[in-house]
């Protein structure tokens, strides 16, 4: 049943999101082409060494960059807004009369909507990264050669030095995405239960929850940094290397602490949402 729910959830939100993300890639390709056209003659091969003496060219170029930024932001927030609206409409509006009378558990309904938004949240970042790579003409082989061959000051490769931190960062990002989605759904559900006005209630709840989670997360970071104070300037190469390694170790630990914190917060909100969908649903 989860698969079937997910199929319909994905179908409902994907049409619009595919268009937005395709537009994002399209604009990146156009800008990249224009940049190489206008930068012909100049020796640099990056997009941003445009010949600014060509007034019309640079004006169009600027407009395209602005459009790209708008689409970037739109795609990022659009994904969350569309997921939130699907959740709200599907469960609490007239559509809820169908969804909530299907012979499926609230767990599956909730999971399907979390998976739906997570898939798009991750796809979103991947598309944005690809767009940046198109804009700056960075190929995957360039990145991997940097990762493999770039050598840090003490002879380690970039990857062996920073790899673990990068992996932890990616995991943090994925969990952050899932928890953000759960926060949005939780806020909508609280908005329904405790406030007369669902949409306003949802927004107020979201702001309050984000504030509390942000403060707590900030306190965790502060606790970690103060316990590993970097308050002196490194005075030798050796000290600098040591400091870098310190940052790596503390950074990784901090990220892991944040991951644990987010998993706990996410789980609490998930179970509360499920409880309210089961016990407090009020389709009046």
């Amino acid at each position: 049943m989860l698969g079937k729910l997910l199929k319909y959830d994905m179908k409902a939100i994907s049409k619009f999101l595919i268009i937005v993300h395709a537009a994002l890639l399209g604009v990146a390709v156009i800008i990249s082409f224009m940049a190489s056209y206008y930068s012909k003659g100049s020796k640099s091969n990056t997009s941003f060494s445009v010949n600014l003496e060509n007034g019309i060219g640079s004006a169009i170029f600027l407009i395209l960059i602005i459009i790209a930024i708008v689409i970037f932001i739109g795609a990022y927030y659009g994904t969350y807004i569309i997921s939130a609206s699907r959740y709200y409409k599907n469960i609490y509006s007239d559509e809820g009369y169908l969804l909530n009378t299907l012979p499926v558990s609230k767990d599956k309904i909730l999971l399907s909507k979390i998976i739906m938004a997570t898939i798009w949240g991750i796809a979103d970042i991947v598309v944005i990264i690809i767009s940046f790579m198109i804009l700056f003409k960075v190929t995957p082989s360039k990145i991997s050669s940097v990762l493999r061959t770039a050598v840090t000051s003490d002879g380690e490769t970039f990857w062996s030095m920073w790899g673990s931190l990068i992996i932890v960062l990616i995991v943090t990002f994925i969990i952050q995405t899932i928890v953000s989605i759960i926060t949005i759904y939780f806020s909508i559900t609280i908005g329904d239960v405790f406030f007369g006005h669902r949409v306003v209630g949802a927004i107020v709840s979201y702001v309050v929850i984000s504030f509390i989670v942000g403060i707590t997360s900030g306190l965790i970071s502060a606790g970690f940094s103060s316990s590993h104070a970097f308050n002196h300037e490194p005075d030798s190469m050796e000290a600098a290397v040591k400091a870098m390694q310190g940052i790596k170790v503390v950074g990784t630990r901090l990220m892991i602490a944040e991951i644990v914190f987010m998993i706990i917060i996410g789980a609490v909100m998930y179970f509360l949402t499920r409880y309210m969908l089961n016990k407090k649903l009020n389709l009046e």
Binding site: A12, D94, Y97, G196, K279, K280, L281, N282, E284
Partner: protein
């Protein structure tokens, strides 16, 4: 015979302390078509929503075929709400597969035949259809399930009289002989001859639960007239 629908001491209080149902109890057996009749705000919709798990009672319990409201009861209830409930971007055909996906008892062939009878184009998107046609599609979906309990909230409110007859005939022809059909409506004269039993509900309380024929004989009047007397303003 065992009761198919048992409502045991159910109360529901809305915000601002409005009592929608007050210690409401009823026991209904299968094999009959029951009219749930009452004026606006009497508690009909509240009761129906609670049987379907869309509202949670403040106290009391509801059992369908002996099971408390939940996934197992949703499998055997086919519910027609008083509003259209689908994603209007979907086509009629997509809705049919949606029902086939989620309800094991959905009869695709029957649904397609009924849609053909009513002249509904399956490739049309729901938003392109008139409100009356949307309601017909919804009724076809609901009546194409082989459910044990059909709950129809105002099933004929928005459709024309010709379709009304087709729909009532459909309900009569299709329901499971052991099943129960619960129809809530204020168009009593239209359904009067279809009903085996009538329930009157007022201010969240049960005021009458009688076999329709017995009621007519006792009071020497039609259900419609009796309703007007009982609920006279």
């Amino acid at each position: 015979m065992n009761s198919l629908l048992e409502v045991r001491g159910v109360s529901k209080i809305y915000k601002h302390n409005k009592m929608a149902l007050n210690n409401f109890s009823i026991n209904l057996e299968g094999g009959q078509i029951v009219g749930l009749l009452g004026p606006n705000g009497s508690g009909k919709s509240t009761l129906i929503k609670m049987i379907n798990g869309l509202l949670v009672p403040n106290s009391g319990m509801i059992y369908v075929d002996g099971k408390p409201v939940g996934i197992d009861t949703k499998k055997i209830i086919s519910y027609l709400p008083e509003r259209t409930y689908f994603d209007k971007q979907q086509t009629v055909k997509e809705l049919l597969s949606y029902f086939a996906d989620f309800y094991e008892d959905f009869d695709m062939k029957k649904a397609e035949a009924m849609l053909a009878d009513l002249g509904v184009n399956q490739n049309a998107k729901m938003k392109e259809l008139s409100k009356g046609t949307q309601e017909k599609v919804q009724l076809v979906l609901v009546m194409s399930r082989k459910a044990l309990l059909y709950i129809l909230d105002e099933p004929i409110g928005g459709v024309d009289p010709a379709a009304r007859d087709y729909i009532l005939n459909t309900i009569l022809k299709n329901y499971n002989p052991n099943g129960l059909v619960l129809i809530s409506t204020h168009l009593i004269s239209d359904v009067e001859n279809t009903l085996d039993r009538v329930i009157f509900i007022k201010n969240g309380e049960l005021i009458l639960n009688e076999n329709a024929d017995d009621l007519r004989v006792q009071r020497r009047n039609s259900v419609d007239e009796i309703f007007r007397e009982v609920f006279a303003c």
